[in-house]
Assembly symmetry: C2
Homo-oligomer: 409 residues x 2
């Protein structure tokens, strides 16, 4: 008998029929004797409907009132899910973020959870009830309703699991787990049984969209075992947890992530003096643009080349900013390319294995794919290549590192 | 500079455009220097949408969860109205029933208000803000969301006005005040400038649907001046307050109420012994049917006739119950008629004027309208007549008591 926190997203509760299916799934766990706390999102489409209402009134709605509005979405779901559970003779009780309470700071529309009071939930679990909590929302010290921002329901699930010291936080989605890479690109991509928090973070930040980065970070920090499963099919899903003790069993590479929406800018002939990097990146950060990879080559002739990548949507905006900066710095030229992509191999196993990088570069070279930039972390190697080679590169690396499900090759 | 509580119903806030119109109306009062607290309903149609969602899941949803669901309707409105006010540079802040808090008992879906905390509202008013409160909802001592039942937003408005000792509670509706009778029946019907709580109660319970009876009772109990006005046109509306000191100025009759949805049942030849009335009405009350008028004639020959009226929808059900009862009592016969209606004249002035009843009966007789039943209170005389005479009776009485707006006759 375990305590599970189960999170169901907007698609999983997108209609009355789906809410009833979720209730049946929860009841099966209850019938096995487990204690269940559920975190739910708004029914799919509902948040957009509410946002449209607010935008019809104001293009700059007060964040406090926007949160009051948006929080109704999850409140509708918790009530309906409890009704569906009760209809199955499964005792259940709902709580809004205010009722739990889930205490947050006062940063409306992007609040951070500060603490969760577990008294009521413990009492209800002891009384045999399923506890259904509104995801995505909390309450600040003044009693104002707050929301956690996009993907906040995943964070609610993990935070509840951490506060309740749950055995597992199960995130139900429309995919049945985390894959070695996107099955739409590589048909033989394999569902991973396990992956570490670190690997999942690299996979997520490199463009794999199964889980919100923030929720994974949160789970890693509090060591909450996280399982990604399908709402619609049964199956073990993928368990995301701390690194296993027995490193021998770790595969070298767990997966391949990629990101299409990249653009690259290079400032050529920058004076090689201290403070140049911040003079280049300062104005970009001031314009609220996020920079991803940064590479600076070794200086020749007292000048250097400075390259970085941004989201493709920001390309034109950044080009304008950077041309001005280059002028001020006396740089030679600014070059850009918005037809690039990023491909990364991720795995805790590479820590203890030499030669992973050269194997990656060999594989790409064998297909005549030119590498434009390289960036590494302890458990990841990322390369920038021309976008047209993306699928070829991912397939080639997937095969080179033996990731394929042999039954599908 | 006064403190007004303004209540806007579902039709008044039924669309983004109407919410913006309400915001402009509120701002005009603010600009005149008044303090404003607003109570709002759910946008029209929203409560029905939510009820339909719950019914798709369960025909017996848990009242606690139904309240969690329904309370979202008003929560959406308070957020949107605040956004609309802020867009007009009118500082505003929203509160749900839980946030105020409006403390109620735990009778979900029909809770009663126990107390209202005015600390936050006073602070906001002092800071120059418009306070927007969700109507229809509250919170019980355990922190569970409650709702007050149909028409509960009127009650919220009156309760807020009582708690804040407001100068007036203004109820904005789709009519511009209380009329001498329904203008659809009598074209020359006149808007009343003033009416007493007692008269309004008789008008409301006799079928005039402008205000919820419960809200009028509440206003009378706490002596909160109540004004009914149109959301869509400017005008003074009708003020509902305590009886004026100067009785000389009271008209004898303030208005004429009527109710079509009546049915009448008579048990003929009932033994005239103590306890008969309760033996007849007991089983009807046990079947959860409300009885309106009751008349028992003086006994002849040790038997009497017992007549009462019920809502027309209950007629068939009551007939079955009462036929059994009549058998048990050894009554002669049960007769019924579901083509009747009730017409009442209402006015505090009749207390001090003799001859009101005879004037009423004369007027009806002059049109050959037969009176089937008569019931009186201190400020009301109600008669039951055949439904086909309803319009004729109302017009005749309206003219006989000089109620018409002469410009419209």
């Amino acid at each position: 008998m375990a305590l599970y926190v189960q999170k169901f997203g907007g698609t999983s509760v997108g209609s009355v029929e789906r809410i009833e299916a979720v209730a049946e799934k929860i009841k099966r766990f209850r019938d096995e004797g487990h204690d269940i706390v559920v975190a739910v999102s708004a029914m799919s489409g509902e948040t957009n409907r509410l946002v449209a209402l607010s935008q019809a009134i104001s293009n700059q709605p007060s964040p406090r009132e926007l949160d009051v509005l948006l929080a109704t979405g999850e409140q509708v779901t918790i009530a309906l899910l409890c009704m569906a559970l009760q209809k199955l003779d499964c005792d259940a009780v709902s709580y809004t973020g205010t009722q739990v309470p889930i205490l947050t700071d006062s940063a409306h529309t992007k609040a951070r959870i500060q603490s969760i009071d577990t008294v009521k939930m413990r009492r209800d679990l002891d009384a045999g009830k399923v506890v259904v909590v509104a995801g995505f929302q909390g309450v600040d010290q003044f009693g104002s309703i707050t929301t956690l921002g996009r993907g906040g329901s995943d964070t609610t699930g993990v935070a509840l699991a951490a506060a309740l010291k749950a055995d597992e936080c199960q995130i139900y989605t429309d995919v049945d787990g985390v894959y070695t890479t996107d099955p739409r690109v590589v048909k033989s991509a394999r569902r991973l049984d396990r992956i570490t928090f670190e690997e999942m973070l690299e996979m997520a930040s490199q463009g794999s969209k199964v889980l919100q980065i923030r929720a994974v970070e949160f789970a890693g920090k509090y060591n909450v075992p996280l399982r990604v499963l399908s709402s619609f099919e049964d199956g073990p899903g993928t368990l995301i947890s701390l690194e296993e003790e027995d490193i021998m069993e770790q595969p070298i590479i767990s997966g391949i992530a990629f990101n299409r929406d990249e653009a690259k800018l290079t400032v050529l002939g920058v004076p090689d003096v201290p403070g140049v990097a911040s003079r280049i990146l300062g104005p970009i950060s001031a314009a609220n643009i996020e920079v991803d990879m940064i590479v600076q080559n070794v200086a020749e002739d007292r000048t250097t080349d400075f390259t970085f990548t941004v989201h493709r949507n920001d390309y034109d905006k950044v080009m304008k900013v950077i041309e001005q900066v280059a002028d001020d710095l006396g740089a030679v030229e600014v070059k850009g390319d918005n037809t690039i992509c990023k491909v990364s191999i991720v795995g805790v196993g590479m820590r203890s294995h030499a030669g992973v990088a050269s194997k990656m570069f060999d594989a790409l070279a064998s297909e005549s794919i030119n590498i434009q930039m390289i960036s590494t972390s302890e458990i990841k190697i990322a390369v920038v290549i021309a976008e047209k080679y993306l699928e070829l590169a991912v397939r080639t690396l997937h095969a080179a590192f033996g990731l394929s499900d042999e039954s599908l090759v």
